[in-house]
Symmetry: C2
Subunit: 479 residues, 2 copies
Amino acid sequence: MKTAILDMDIVGLAGLIRSRKLSPVTLVEALLDRIAAIDPELQSFIHVSGTALKQAGKAEEMLRQGKAIGPLHGIPIAIKDNYLTRDMPTTAGTTAPGYDFPLRDASAVKRLRDAGAIPIGKTRTHEFAWGNITPPTKNPWDFGRIPGGSSGGSGAAVAARLCPAGLGSDTGGSIRIPASLCGVVGLKPTFGRISRDGIVPHSWSLDHAGPLTRSVRDAALLLNVMAGYDPNDTACQDRPVPDYLALLGQPIAGMKIGVCRNHFFGANEPDVESAVERAIGELARLGAQIVELRIDHLEYGLGAIFAIELASSSAYHDQALQSGATAGMTDDVRTLVEIGRMVSASDMIKAEQLRAVLMQNFFKAFEKVDVILTPALPLTAWEAGQTEIDVTSRKESPLEASWRLTYPFNLTGMPAISVPCGFDRRDLPIGLQLAAKPFDEATLLRVAHAYEAINRWGDRMPPLRKIDRAVLPAGAEHV
Amino acid sequence: MKTAILDMDIVGLAGLIRSRKLSPVTLVEALLDRIAAIDPELQSFIHVSGTALKQAGKAEEMLRQGKAIGPLHGIPIAIKDNYLTRDMPTTAGTTAPGYDFPLRDASAVKRLRDAGAIPIGKTRTHEFAWGNITPPTKNPWDFGRIPGGSSGGSGAAVAARLCPAGLGSDTGGSIRIPASLCGVVGLKPTFGRISRDGIVPHSWSLDHAGPLTRSVRDAALLLNVMAGYDPNDTACQDRPVPDYLALLGQPIAGMKIGVCRNHFFGANEPDVESAVERAIGELARLGAQIVELRIDHLEYGLGAIFAIELASSSAYHDQALQSGATAGMTDDVRTLVEIGRMVSASDMIKAEQLRAVLMQNFFKAFEKVDVILTPALPLTAWEAGQTEIDVTSRKESPLEASWRLTYPFNLTGMPAISVPCGFDRRDLPIGLQLAAKPFDEATLLRVAHAYEAINRWGDRMPPLRKIDRAVLPAGAEHV
């Protein structure tokens, strides 16, 4: 039983719980046991709830009494450590002095609890969500590699079956990057779809909340619960929330899938490109119409998002910059926060103007297609300590290379998802990214679900150990 | 006849023209004669149209043929020299090298022409709309004083009866300030109501287009013509345009007029405060309900708008800053454009966050009242060359003092109007400011019109000469 339930997704588990075939206590016990066994090495959690078992007992008691239950009744969910929680401390991954993270629930956490979920622990984030490697968390597919970030703890924990789902936040790719590198599903909804109230800010106009899950249907279910208006997040929009889960499963025949050949293709690892090309072929065989298209000016986007993100981060960390508390940050993050002060407001205005141009270009593209399909990242998980990436004609930093394909949907606020779409020759997962027009998560999830239904790449179990590449046969091909 | 038509507003003139009692040729001739007589000293025009008479002849010919005419058929209108025009050069008030202002019509100018108007000339603007004094233009009430700015040319020309209306642009008060200081009506509509396409940018998120007129009904008529969607201004909103002119004249009994006692009162010249208090009393006697209210955090607004305006200006002038062409600007403007480079993006983000807070505070206030009433400026026209203003406990620059009451409605984008409400002891006009919630210009104009109907302060003719204060009796009171 224990192994079986660890392999299940939330929709499956919730069905067993509702029908009294599985006790929330059994489920939480199994997860806590597995966390205790694996996480000392994996290091995906920074805090494990001391009351999760008690909460599971209460959930069990409610079931016994036949009390009305929410769609997540008794489901343990891991919370990224930049979401405030009323019963667990929040650190946002920092030990710098002067930050005060109160004990209260972020809006999204409160919605999960109201739906019956049990926050089982806080997962590690790259400090202040400012990075893509999330030390000291390891990648479950190879402990010598990084899990991605900044929601690296949630990505690693979900992939390693330490929890059925985890929350993430995504400013330039921080949900989709660890999802892709760890082989799970990561959904960044439309800007304004989920409240960020109670999430430690990184960059107000780019930050998004969203889930990392084992399946697309779980992403739909968690979006059902987390989406909706909240006046405490001024960017949050008051729009109806459809039942994303119910809308899954319709055939995708006749849908138009855009493939943007500029920017998103031609500078990726060969195994990534071939996995994505195979996915395009499979979607075409399901009856989708593949439409090649071009989106102009994306070559200027990275500078624009960097300017906005750096400046916002410095604005949030203003007091720490003035008091010198930034000295307590990790060097990589401290440098970024300090550099942010150098961004001029006039450059930022130009960055915002470019953002408006790119939004118009994407809107025009979405007049022609229902979704846009790209690789999630140009590469698979890189080695801890690696400082150069070599997938284009010039060497790049891992930061630059890793968010090149995800950030356009932060800059434009459009919803995007990463779904596992294969493995490279080193057995590292590859992510397929799908994006849609604002507030059209239903279409996005429908295509992702159709793809997942014929390709359950996420079912494979990661080895949870360091892989010695020397023992692999030369040129071994697993794709 | 000539004197009579010079004293009339557009609605009056258009009626005479439509009924063939006045020829557009007669009207244009009268204005050109008056410009030739007065403007060499007043200096409100930088360019007078060489084809206005010919256009008037054409308008006359159309009338003779009974051809369909627009609401402004044959009406001469002055165009601020930062609006592009297809038949007159544009300078934006600068002689700095490297700027290329093409011969084409700004969207608002095209709408005026389509409605039958005749652009009679280009009125002077403070260089790049960056200032409140508009040299060398004089104030028609006292040639030793400034007309305000940046739309100082239009304000002086309309007050001096050189044209029945002029266009202005308003980034922190640049329509309402010269309107108030010259004794005419100045309307800054909601952000996004009138397209800024073809207007030389000053600060994209603060710039507004609007008219300066002899009456509130003329402001309504020109808004009818100028308002509406234009995809060439990305901020311009696609919303229906009501018939503002038809909506005037309803009684204001029962309407709620908010008086915000903080920020807007207590640091104004005594004659300004007493004129505005008298206006409040008069509106109450018309049956309006006066509601005292408070709007928090306005004390931080000036820093916020300054940061945004400086930074935007530097972004627009980026090439001039890089090439050194800013050396060709007037010292006051050059300094501001160069200082703008020093604004950090993180400070700008904080400024934008304060803007959002102030917008919420004003929205809350407009849940309780229909309009907010304030003085337009803390003072009346100051002397040319004056560098200090002394209306509060500390001395201020004229720039700081003069836009303190107008800028909140640029920062929040809400519509505001200045209407003449009396004269100070030196016979200088005083302006009353009314503001309303976004896209509620109809209510704004209705209250302004009701006030104007009992107080035709704008009918008084300015002396058009330098006033020697020594000959005035001591303490002479004209209020």
